[in-house]
């Protein structure tokens, strides 16, 4: 009798959870955290800003015709000499509107960070899953390589690659991909090791489905969730690393400044109290990375990377 009431109690509780699709449950869980909701909202705003930003800002900061040297080093809130608009974030030494420069810098930073994360994720995942599926000597070799790579700090490896290659957007992306692939490969291999022992892979193998289809259509989709978490966190790191490299003068060229380069340009004026040239680009950088980390933290909690391993 008691067991029956317990059963009916669990039965009445269970259906709402069971009837919902896993995707909808994840979305619900994700938005249950206020900070994660804030994070994804900020991120969405930043991406929209990066896409349509050039249409909104008052000047193209890299069109020298639009710059007025008389407006150089104005504090935030100052009016332009020719009249017309207000410099809400001040101007740099060449009279460039910092707000416009920041929005252009945001585009470069996001493009380089997210682009390199995507390339590194695809490459690393492919290598990791291949290693797990193939096993044997190939796997041992790949794992050694990953260990070797991860035992050196990313910033130094990237620094050295750029010291050899020289600065440039493509070179920065290449350097970021080279330092990042190993993290993805390690996680992908860990997840794939667990997945490949499961029955559905065995079933697929018994059906003599071609190996490529097993890898891409069966194994890969089931390995994705933890990789999405890693990719989120790594994209934030990539953006931060790119900014650091550009700050050190080894990153993007002066013609395509990212937020890091803007900060570097303002560095020399900082000691004389003109804080805004470095401060606001850095604030933008901080908002991007905080937003990504808030989203990444919540994704990690709901997907639970550790349990999946």
């Amino acid at each position: 009798m008691t067991s029956q009431t317990e059963l009916s109690a669990t039965a009445t509780k269970a259906p709402p959870v069971a009837s919902r699709s896993p995707a909808r449950r994840l979305v619900r869980e994700f938005f249950s955290s206020r900070s994660a909701t804030l994070g994804i909202f900020l991120l969405a705003c930043l991406i929209v800003l990066a896409l349509v930003g050039p249409l909104l800002v008052p000047q193209d900061p890299y069109d020298l015709m639009q710059l007025d040297l008389l407006d150089g080093q104005l504090p935030p809130g100052a009016q332009s000499a020719a009249g017309g608009y207000t410099y809400w974030a001040g101007t740099d030494d060449q009279g460039r509107d910092m707000l416009s420069a920041i929005i252009y810098g945001l585009r470069t930073s996001l493009a380089v960070g997210v682009g390199s994360a995507l390339i590194a994720a695809s490459l690393g995942t492919a290598i990791g899953i291949f290693a797990a599926y193939r096993g044997g000597r190939a796997e041992a070799l790949i794992m050694r390589l990953i260990d070797l790579q991860l035992s050196f700090p990313t910033i130094l490896v990237a620094l050295m690659i750029l010291a050899v290659l020289g600065r440039g957007v493509a070179n920065v992306v290449l350097a970021l991909v080279i330092v990042e692939w190993a993290t993805y490969a390690r996680v992908a291999r860990g997840v794939a090791m667990v997945e490949r022992r499961k029955e559905y892979i065995e079933a697929a193998e018994c059906l003599a489905i071609p190996r490529r289809r097993i890898l891409f259509n069966h194994l890969l989709p089931n390995c994705l969730p933890p990789l999405v978490v890693i990719a989120t966190v790594q994209a934030g790191r990539a953006i931060s690393l790119e900014a650091t490299l550009s700050f050190l003068g080894l990153g993007v060229p002066i013609t395509e400044p990212s937020l890091g380069l803007l900060i570097a340009n303002g560095y020399q004026y900082l000691l004389s109290g003109q804080y805004w040239i470095s401060f606001y680009p850095g604030l933008m950088l901080l908002v991007i990375i905080v937003a990504i980390n808030l989203v990444g933290d919540q994704l990690r909690d709901i997907i639970n990377v550790r349990r999946q391993k």
């Binding site: 050190l248 000691l271 850095g282």
Partner: protein, 323 residues
Amino acid sequence: MTAWLVHRIMQSLLVVIAMTAIVFVAVNVIGDPVAILISPDANQAERDRIIVQFGLDQPLWRQYLSFVGGAVRGDFGNSFVYGMPALQVIFQRMPATLELALGTLVVSVAFGIPLGLYTGMQPNSFLSKLTLSASILGFSVPVFWLGLILIMFFSVYLGWFPAGGRGETVRVFGVGLSFLTLDGLRHLTLPVLTLAIFKISLVLRMVRAGVRDVVPQEYVKFARAKGLSKQRILFVHILKNIMIPVVTIVGLEFGSLIAFSVVTESIFAWPGMGKLIIDSINVLDRPMIVAYLMIIVFLFVAINLVVDILYTLLDPRARLTGP
């Protein structure tokens, strides 16, 4: 244990050898050393003389062997800029970097562990939540920008701490140290704070996660049931068990501190290895770059080895699984 140690040391040596090859190829094959060594208007005879002098006419494997031969004797050639052996220049700068890294490590452990224990034991208190939110910020803020902001606020606005340099040093065993003088400590404060914010957040989160894992376990319940004091449970039973991952991370982070000194030293004009390598890259001081890279490789392989050995000493389970 001995077999494991031998195996592990062999492995480390292999890594060092592999890295010398990579560094050699990267620095000597990509790019043209002759273009840097000789002025563009030198005549052909002069070019040939230099090429022979530096052994650039030899096949690649022979060049590599002579490079390794020099490296074993600690000879990486003379720095183009300083005109003395590159290794010597680096060793002169190394204490400054190590001082910065060790200072940061001490500060991060001194703040990170107590904060982590507190947030782990009292997960629902307001202070814990505030600390955790602050740690997300600490994780996210780019180190170089944080350095600039600290300079802006504490040096330019308040005038409390100097914006750069090392200050007065005291020579101990022929090595200049800043932290023994008041002036040196004032110079040390901002760079250490810049590096420590991230590390405190990291240690805090590690310790907190460890506490949350350990507290529900049987042996803690048992210790509580035995009537042991809260302090004893916390500091002996809990802390001892979470120290394993913390020691590993702190050890590995020491390496990353040396790496990130590249950034902090550039901002605070701290005369260490990090600033040296950035300057050397900017003027393409090739022997310096090679020497620095080899030192870094050696340092990191050594750190990884020490961390692994510490790990086996701290955790008996790791000994059983072997290599």
